[in-house]
Amino acid sequence: MDSELKKKLQEKAKIIRQDIIEMLCEAGSGHPGGSLSIADVFSYLYFSGILNINPDNPSDKYRDRVVLSKGHACPVLYATLAEKGFFDKSHLKTLRKYGSILQGHPDMNKTPGVEMTTGSLGQGLSCSVGMALGARLDDLNINIIAILGDGECAEGQVWEAAMSASHYKLGNLVAIVDKNGLQIDGFTKDVMNSEPLADKWRSFGWEVFEIDGHDFDEIDYSIKSALSIKDKPVCIIANTIKGRGVSFMENVCDWHGKAPSEEEKEKALCDICNLKLED
């Protein structure tokens, strides 16, 4: 990836992470860990130019769709959509408040740019299968990207969706699993081991890439490859660090669903600012 673009994506990821922290502190509740782990992927999806997403034409029928199946991580989606220009950034401080367009979990009827209502884990990939089937029926040459959690992959419905996607040879569908190794009650390997995860997706008929989900070169390579594969669905297993970018949140289970205090916010923003970036 050219260094100019990488710089830009790193910059966007930084802004997204800062906004996540700011909005969660203001809200007083919500989910930082799984928002921060997938922030680099979001920066890439919305700001690399790889997808057709245009805030000036949010109902364009030719737009690509990103479905956040792990809906609790909506702060990353809201921060990204605001940065992209889908709505004014002032809304971010209304997160989770009564009457806000930014609900505690994504609501497609309240928030511009949100493609699917989610929050009950395990459903987003099935919704994406439906979108991919619909796009194919109408000869729309578009991409559907579903973002899942690794804990979420324990839901039986995920595998029903996986089976149907390969059965229907949905080459327009990409699943990205945010494999941060944690869920709520602990490490995924201890709560409900899903390994070997890549083999599972492969055995369900998917092409699989395993990448470092914080490395823009690997994100770039895998997503470009995924979009070019047209005869079957592709799963990108993004190995990530839950809470990535905030030292005291990284890989700490407790930061799944807890908002930072004022003091913690300052420390977090400082960490994000100083996050060491490779080139």
């Binding site: 809906g71 989770r96 408040k97 609900q103 505690g104 009950s120 804990g151 709520i184 409900m192």
Partner: protein
């Protein structure tokens, strides 16, 4: 007026606890007296408070991860082996994600599974609609063999858990996230199918359960100060409901108002209507979620916005009693 005989079961302490916390503590106590008790959860043990049991009896605790349907049928399997499974997750997932499993693996074969679901009602707050169970009691009530209990406070929760532990059959216990005042003291006794009348009056009947009972009681006290005396009933046992108590009170007051943190379709309000429309038709006004999805906000804001805060209850009584 607070009933004379009720005073001895009312708490005089100024204490608050959530029903989920009371459940978690009670469960850990029960675990000590019966080795057949097993506890199942779906990656929410810190929130449902089954973590207290898990810590004490790790070999009898099973975390199923994010797989509610699997957990419910596995609970049924454990019950066939003579175990006493308590299965916990949030109300939305226990009743909607695992709906058919609860119906076919648990209710139909009448297996001894105790489904203790937390985070019910819009009083969940900020998480919003996807995490607020407003239809759980309706779903569970419609399953044959299933009993449905919605305790009002920490004491009642403990007593309910004791009762359902002794009861052999499927039950759904509707617990809440938020703290609520402790209304009852240890003298209180819970019986499946029995309500408890806390206040006595003849202008109207107020019936509530769960999180809204303490709010309804406050409303009844305010009305009393205005000279409007009402019957105030706590009806934790939503199914079977205490028909006798409902009919007797309706005969006296002629106007019944139900209050619940649940959709007005299918829950306590409906249960009361079913009894009265068949046995003693009087007007019933159902306060609760008026067939809308929940939303994000603080619990207090939501309860007010959805129209079942203390003021809304008082106003409804005032405007509907005969002049």
């Amino acid at each position: 007026m607070i009933k004379q005989d009720i005073k001895k079961i009312l708490s005089s302490e100024d204490e608050k606890i959530s029903t989920r916390e009371a459940y978690g503590r009670k469960l850990a106590e029960l675990g000590e007296i019966d080795k057949n008790i097993v506890v199942l959860d779906c990656d929410l043990s810190k929130s449902t408070r089954t973590a207290i049991f898990a810590k004490k009896f790790p070999e009898r605790f099973f975390n199923f991860g994010l797989a509610e349907a699997n957990m419910m049928s596995a609970a049924a399997g454990l019950a066939t082996m003579g175990k006493i499974p308590f299965a916990s997750t949030f109300g939305v997932f226990a009743t909607k994600r695992a709906c058919d499993q609860v119906s076919i693996s648990i209710a139909y074969p009448r297996l001894n599974v105790k489904i203790c679901a937390t985070h019910t009602g819009i009083s969940v707050g900020e998480d919003g609609a996807t995490h607020q169970a407003i239809e759980d009691a309706a779903i569970m009530r419609s399953f044959p063999n299933m009993i449905v209990i919605s305790p009002a406070d920490g004491t009642e929760t403990r007593k309910v858990i004791d009762e359902i532990y002794k009861y052999n059959g499927p039950c759904y216990i509707r617990l809440c996230r938020g703290n609520s005042p402790v209304l009852f003291n240890d003298n209180y006794e819970f019986k499946i199918g029995r309500g408890v009348k806390i206040m006595d009056g003849d202008k109207a009947t107020l019936i509530s359960a769960g999180f809204t009972t303490s709010i309804t009681l406050e409303a009844a006290k305010t009305l009393e100060e205005e000279g409007i005396e009402v019957d105030m009933i706590n009806m934790a046992s939503i199914k079977p409901v205490d028909s006798e108590m409902i009919i007797e009170s309706a005969k006296k007051t002629g106007l019944v108002i139900t209050v619940e943190d649940h959709n007005v379709i299918g829950g306590l309000g409906s249960a009361v209507c079913e009894v009265l429309s068949e046995k003693y038709p009087v007007r019933v006004i159902r306060l609760g979620v008026q067939d809308k999805f929940g939303s994000s906000g603080s619990p207090a804001e939501l309860i007010k916005a959805y129209g079942f805060d203390k003021d809304s209850i008082v106003k409804t009584v005032r405007e509907n009693i005969p002049a």
